[in-house]
């Protein structure tokens, strides 16, 4: 384009096509924002409302997060298979109390991380996860009669005891092998006491009155039906093949989680509004465009997070707010460049072109260094730190796109409208 041509562009009258484009863009952004954040209902379908499709971390929903460490002995070392089968057992136990979607992952060689969202009773969940649940029936001479492995089914039920009082008990149904063993034992120890041991605690010591050949037994002495139910599910799930000790526990009550989410969104909105205002004051017309790009940025980041099922955590929210600052950074670099080029006597459109192309290298280099930090955090960090790293990485990538590609198109449309021809409007 020659200098003369650009002069014409600068001085031309209002360009209707560009004005319509600009208005369309603004309308589109706000419509998309409305659909995304508030949502619309078309017929029976609810569309949008990103808050509903976002996956929230435990710190925002409340829940239990435990890291268990397996400890083996010289004869009984921790193996990969044992960890895998422990994970299965833990999953069964959690499923049995009917809570939503636990996440159970292996960490390193000997750790398991268990995350259960929205669990109401934190201690109960903790109890259930970590119990080895080594069930043993012992004779009076402490010989092992049978173990939890011989049990095929177990339930917590209410039953009338001999004096007609309703009591919570745990029913046991033995396997064929177990039935034989139990029959033999009840015959051998008639009139004596059999001990039922769970993880080194004697939980019941009934006296054998008759020989039991049906392969069924009950454990009495349960405080209530909940306790009976939990014990039954532990027995059903089977014993853990290794001893697991919790080395890290973090639980958050559901109200605290919800409050954290609300307050963080509130804080985020204030922060972002102030940034939008700052850009408008400092860079006027260009700032307005940067603000539009920033709104697009926020919508894209949140949509990608929802689409890729990235878990939004508190540190993640901090990451998003931080990248808002960084997204603006790219625009500030570009605008400063445009201002400089314009001061050196170039026309507005030329200054914009040169400004964008010169600034791009700088933006790329400066963002790559932050990306490096993000990736290191992601690969070497754990838990909440990773949540932060994901939003940081995602934010940097998306912000480079919106700050460079989208802003450039918008700035050009704005200039071409010819609505604003004074350099002052562009903060120049």
């Amino acid at each position: 384009m020659t200098n003369e041509g650009e002069e014409r562009v600068d001085k031309q009258k209002v360009n209707k096509k560009s004005v319509i484009q600009l208005i369309l863009v603004i309308v589109l952004i706000f419509t998309a924002g409305y659909v995304l954040f508030i949502g619309i209902t078309v017929g029976v379908y609810d569309i949008g409302k990103i808050g509903n499709s976002m996956k929230y971390g435990l710190d925002l929903t409340g829940g239990v997060n435990v890291v268990l460490e397996a400890s083996g002995t010289a004869e009984d070392p921790v193996t990969s298979e044992k960890i895998d089968s422990s994970i299965l057992t833990i999953r069964q136990r959690i499923d049995s109390i009917g809570v939503t979607e636990p996440t159970i992952t292996k960490q390193g060689n000997n750790r398991i991380r268990v995350s259960i969202p929205s669990v109401s009773d934190q201690e109960e969940a903790l109890n259930l996860i970590g119990k080895t649940a080594q069930l043993e029936f012992l004779g009076p001479d402490d010989t092992v009669i049978l173990t939890g492995k011989d049990v095929v089914d177990s339930k917590g039920v209410m039953q009338n005891d001999s004096s007609g009082v309703q009591k919570a008990v745990v029913t046991l149904k033995f396997s064929e092998e177990g039935t034989k063993l139990f029959a033999a034992a009840t015959e051998k120890y008639q009139g004596q006491i059999i001990k039922i041991k769970l993880d080194n605690d004697i939980i019941s010591s009934p006296t054998v009155n008759v020989v039991i050949t049906t392969g069924e037994a009950v454990i009495e002495g349960m405080a209530n039906i909940d306790e009976a139910g939990n014990l039954a599910s532990l027995i059903r799930g089977g014993a853990l093949p290794v001893k697991l000790d919790p080395v890290e526990i973090r639980t958050i009550g559901p109200t605290l989680g919800q409050n954290s989410l609300n307050e963080s969104i509130y804080a985020g909105i204030i922060g972002i509004s102030l940034v939008l205002l700052f850009m408008l004051v400092m860079y006027r017309g260009l700032g307005f465009i940067a603000d539009l790009a920033l709104l697009i940025y926020i919508m894209i980041v949140l949509s990608i997070m929802a689409a890729l099922n990235v878990t939004l955590t508190l540190p993640g929210i901090a990451g998003i707010i931080l990248t808002v600052g960084m997204a603006v950074d790219a625009n500030v670099i570009i605008f400063s460049r445009i201002q400089e080029e314009s001061r050196s006597g170039k026309s507005l459109l030329t200054a914009i072109d040169v400004g964008f192309s010169r600034a791009f290298g700088t933006i790329l280099d400066s963002n790559v260094t932050t990306l490096i930090a993000g990736f290191v955090l992601f690969f070497l960090g754990s838990g909440s730190v990773q949540g932060f790293a994901v939003t940081l990485i995602l934010g940097i990538l998306v912000s480079m796109f919106t700050a460079v590609v989208i802003t450039k198109r918008l700035v050009k449309i704005l200039v071409k409208t010819g609505l604003f021809n004074s350099n002052a409007f562009y903060g120049l």
């Binding site: 605290l256 922060g271 102030l274 600052g325 932050t370």
Partner: protein, 297 residues
């Protein structure tokens, strides 16, 4: 536009940074850091008591488990008790602790707001992993800058980073602010952010180099810094605005992130403008003068 005398007054900026580093290192040596449970292990239990409480009442319950525990309050009406122990309580102890409060204040299970327990072994691992993460990140950045610019830019940028790191740690040590895992994430972000600032300045020095005389380092550096100054300050301001709102209006968990970021971004911006390029200038200038002397002989 008035030129900023970064290269010309480099001794002044170095002295200022040296004072900051001396204070920081001094405090780190004397007081050390106030490590939280993420690093040293321990238990934090938060319980909603539905009523403001007497510290002595809470202590009576807590002391049975750990007389060295901290008891503080939280919540809008100061109705929540936070018990922090240095030893990590096991399940029975935790349940007994909650049961103690439950009896005394007629609570239900859902009044147990949160539990955080970390074993000391995990904490040690965390500390060593953090150091590895920081070293790896710094080395990768050095490689990238050497690849894109030159080694001297890389090394001066890294020295400026270490300066930022020491000062942030110093602030945390001086005011004995508790250090937990979010702090490490924040530190790494500061490294990324601060080097981003430095890269922008170096980028300009590289671009301006052909326009200046071969050895007019003072002019080159000062002009480049002046040209990028508005950008450096404006971008740090926008980020600071966003992060400060999080700090003021956010929840405690998010404040742990926001505070080190605020400190780090501020100090990082300072060192990007005044230290990194001044250091580059000082070394270049030194090399040049040495070269001149060699020729004179």
């Amino acid at each position: 536009m008035r030129r900023i005398k970064v290269a010309e007054k480099s001794k002044l900026w170095f002295t200022f940074s040296l004072i900051l580093i001396t204070i920081s290192l001094g405090s780190l040596l004397i007081q050390g850091l106030n490590f939280g449970i993420d690093f040293i292990g321990g238990t934090i239990v938060t319980i909603e008591l539905n009523t403001p409480f007497e510290n002595a009442d809470a202590r009576a319950i807590v002391d049975k488990f750990d007389p060295g525990a901290d008891v503080t309050y939280a919540g809008d009406a100061k109705t929540q008790v936070i018990v922090t122990t240095k030893k990590s309580l096991n399940t029975e102890e935790r349940q007994a602790l909650f049961a103690g409060f439950k009896d005394k204040y007629n609570l239900v299970d859902s009044n147990l707001i949160s539990i955080d327990t970390v074993n000391p072994s995990i904490g040690k691992e965390m500390a060593s992993n953090s150091i590895i993460a920081i070293v790896v990140a710094v080395l990768l950045m050095l490689v990238y800058i050497t690849f894109r610019f030159e080694f001297l830019f890389g090394i001066t940028a890294i020295i400026a980073l270490i300066h930022d790191l020491i000062v942030v740690l110093g602030v945390y040590s001086l005011f004995q602010i508790q250090v937990n895992s979010p702090f490490i994430a924040a530190i790494l972000t500061i490294l990324g952010y601060s080097i981003m600032d430095t890269v922008v300045v170096f980028d300009r020095i590289r671009e301006n180099r052909p326009k200046f005389g071969k050895h007019a380092y003072t002019d080159l550096v000062d002009t480049s810094v002046t040209q990028t100054m508005a950008r450096s300050i404006n971008t740090s301001l926008t980020t600071l605005i966003a992060i400060t709102s999080l700090y003021i209006f956010g929840v405690p968990a998010i404040k742990d992130f926001a505070l080190p970021l605020i400190v780090g971004i501020t100090i990082g911006t300072y060192s990007s403008i005044f230290n990194a390029s001044a250091l580059w200038f000082a070394i270049k200038d030194y090399q040049f003068k040495k070269h001149e002397k060699a020729i004179a002989k």
